[in-house]
Symmetry: C2
Amino acid sequence: MPKFEPIILDEDCAPRRVLELFSVKWTTMVLHSLHFNGGRCRTSALARSLPGCSKKMLTQTLREMERDGLIHRKVYPVVPPMVEYSLTPMGRLFIEPIEMLYAWGAKNDDALSKLRRRRKKHTASKAKAREAQ
Amino acid sequence: MPKFEPIILDEDCAPRRVLELFSVKWTTMVLHSLHFNGGRCRTSALARSLPGCSKKMLTQTLREMERDGLIHRKVYPVVPPMVEYSLTPMGRLFIEPIEMLYAWGAKNDDALSKLRRRRKKHTASKAKAREAQ
DNA sequence: CCGAATCCAGCCGGATACTG
DNA sequence: CAGTATCCGGCTGGATTCGG
C-alpha cells in the first residue's frame, strides 16, 4: 500500500462545513421542497411534502434555517393564520449542489437500492409500550 | 404565490436514500479520505485524517460501512496488528458526488463561512464538571 | 392553520479500562 | 496498533396539550 500522509480534514475546512450542513437531518429536503415550489411554500404544504418529519422537527428545522439565513419567514395577518417560507439568496446558493446530489441519486437509484439498510428506525417502541399499558 | 401541490419526498425515494447516507456523520469523510489515499488506508492513518472523530465513532462507522458494502476490511496477521480499509466498487460509486460536493464547498468557502453557526457543539461540558470535582 | 411549551424514554457518544 | 466492553450524562425527538 502507498505510504504517505493522508490529508487531514481539519475541523473547520470547507468540506466539513458543507458536510455539516448536509448532515442536518431535514435542511436540504426543505430547501429542495421550496425550490420545487418556485422558491416559496407555506407550512402545511411543506409538512405534506416531508412525510416522516414530525411537526416539531419541521418547526425546529425551519427556525434554525431562518436563523442561518437560508430561508425567510413571512406571516400573513389573516385567520386562520398563514405562514410562507421562501428561499433567501443564501438558501438559493445551496440549490445547485442539492439538485446535483438528488439527480445523481435518481440516476443511480437501483444501485443505491442495493445498499443494505443502515441504522434501524429506532421509533415505534414507545408507542407499543404505551398501548400495552 | 403559485398554488400547486408540492412534490412529496416519499420515505423511500432516491433523494432520501442519498441524503440519508450523506447525513450519517462520518461516512462520507471516510470515503473521501480513502479516496485521497488511493482507495486504501490503515486505521490509524484514517483516524489522523479525521480530527474530532473519537476512536469509538470511527470503529462504529467503519463497521457500518463494511456491513453496507462500502468498504472492505483486511487484517494482516502481524504484530503489532495492522488493518487496512479499502473502497469497494459500491464505495467507489459514491466518490463522484462526494468530490463534487466538496469541490463546491471549496469554491464557495467564503460564502459558506458567513453561515451562522448551527447547533452548538454539545461537548466539553462533562469534562469541565469532571475536573471541577 | 401555525406554533410554543412540557414531559420523558431512549439513544448518542465520550471517557475509561482491558485484550491480543 | 486495533478493537471491545462498560458506564453514564446529556441531548434528541415524539407525544401531548394549550394558545392565538
